[in-house]
């Protein structure tokens, strides 16, 4: 089961990465990045569900540190969701500023400095 979840996460990540690198519309890039973050979340939650108990069994005992990390992956995913939202909010603010200045949201047009 872990393998299938990891494959799903890898596919999502690749879709997101491809989109982030190839799309020209700023909003599309932001959406692609969001897909990448969600791929990470899938991986984190999957590892949290399947790996941690195995790690605990391998250790042979439930140490306090191991116990506190039982749900670490899931709590990490919550943090990721929150920070990703902040990142997108900032991105949209920049998009608005750009539309006001240039009336365009095309990434390739933001290339004054390439030479």
């Amino acid at each position: 089961m872990l393998e299938r979840l990891l494959i799903l996460s890898a596919i999502l990540f690749c879709i997101g990465l491809y989109g982030a690198l190839s799309r020209r519309h700023v909003i599309a890039v932001l959406i692609s990045v969001e897909i990448m973050f969600n791929a990470v979340n899938v991986a984190l939650v999957a590892f949290s569900r399947y790996v941690t108990p195995a790690a605990l069994r391998a250790a042979g005992e439930v140490t306090p540190i191991a116990e506190s990390t039982l749900l670490a992956g899931q709590s990490f995913a919550v943090f990721v969701i929150v920070v990703a939202a902040a990142e997108v909010a900032l991105g949209l603010a920049l998009v608005i500023a750009m539309v006001r200045t240039k009336d365009s949201v095309d990434v390739t047009e933001a290339s004054l400095m390439r030479r």
Binding site: F37, A39, V51, I65, F76, F79, V80, L94, L112
Partner: protein
Amino acid sequence: MNIGIRDLFLISPELSVIVLAIIVVSLDLAVRRKGVVIAVAVIGLLVPMVAGVSVWSDIRTTGADTAFNGALVVDEFALYFKFLTVTVLALLFLSSSEYASRFHPFQAEFYGLLLLSSAGLMLLPAAGDLITVYISLELASLPVIALAAYNKTRLKSLEAGLKYLMLSAVSSAVLLYGFAFLYGATGTLQLVSFDPAIPAIGQMLMNGESSIPFGGVAVMVGVVLVVAGFGFKLSIVPFQMWTPDVYEGAPTPVAAYLAVASKAAAFAVVLRVFYTGLDPVASDWSLLFAVLAAITMTVGNVIAIAQTNVKRLLGYSAIAQAGYLLMGVAAYVGSGPDPELGIEAVLFYLAGYAAMNMTAFFVVMAVTNRTGDETIDGLAGMGRRAPLLAALLGLALLSLTGIPPTVGFIGKLFLFNAAINADMLWLAVIGLLNSVLSAYYYLSVVRVMYLRESDNPIRITLPLYAWAALAVTSCAILVLGLWPGGLLEVARQAALNLV
């Protein structure tokens, strides 16, 4: 889960920086004179300094401590970077107050965002688990995105902000994916518990073939993704594309902040993650870093030669310098002789690099603010028009090249020494050749300043506090170059926390 007064005491430097940010932004609403706001911001930075000193004297007696159940590690290594960040920020405030007046009426927010970002930078070297690494990294970089686009009517600045946002978001995602794999391989997010976990669980999970680098597929994928994710922040090749664009487009103080404070903290967190968390697989990543270091400095130096914009030149120079610093990270010797040498060299060079790069950026900021001309040719005749500024920029560039008696020379000497100590003579040789190569473009700027005449009559003057900041940074270049012993000892003590 118990959080006590002691935890709050241990993060008091960061807390006071955040409180200061709130005070500065709200004070701006009440006071009409902007000078007051800047004064409060600069003087208020004494509070985190004092808090840092009290935490330092505390852990000197009781030893390194952890806060929030191991989420933060407060040791001399972390405190070294807290002091460095606060000092850099204070000098930056002093020198950029004139530049920031163009942001009227949003100056206070400019300082507030810088303060918030530096709170993130101060937490970063103290990170004890991967969640803290991620949160502090984002706390440090989100305000910088806004700051890079702060000239929001100038298209170049907006472009810088947008580029930094996209690359920072993509790199964060890559970094996180790497963290997820490390978590999967080790079953924990805490860096200290990685140690015994990586070889055993990494192999157990992935059928235990020892021929795979890093001891297992999950660890290998994790480490490679983490290196790529951090690579963006460190601006190492091949993840360096954003650096010159952002440096050129962003307001000059923000570029200085990115080049100095942000880079120092990024190196700190890389050292922390790799030396405390991933040292069981060190022989694999140290070679990876060594190769990246060689490529990074060569590419940075070669492209820098062709630059005509002085901020872009400093951008490529920052890439090359990241390559030199990476040599120290790569110089892992494990249980061999002097295991702290590499980290010590990185810590020392980061402080010296802060001094020389800030001097260069402050002079460039002063000149471009007056002339509005960012090309290297715009510096022509500086030796006559502004003799002292030209001399200081010359000193900074000599130091960046690595010519004695500046700190750049001593710092590079220690980095090369660390590489040789780790049996990487080839890397030290490449570093040396690169220093020779870099002399070409650094010194050609000096040549333009002194030997080329200019018909531009604009004289360049600076307010007194900007001179004060320049005096501190340029004195630091010479003092650390002539008497490096004191700082080296501090760096050594800090480095010993990681080995």
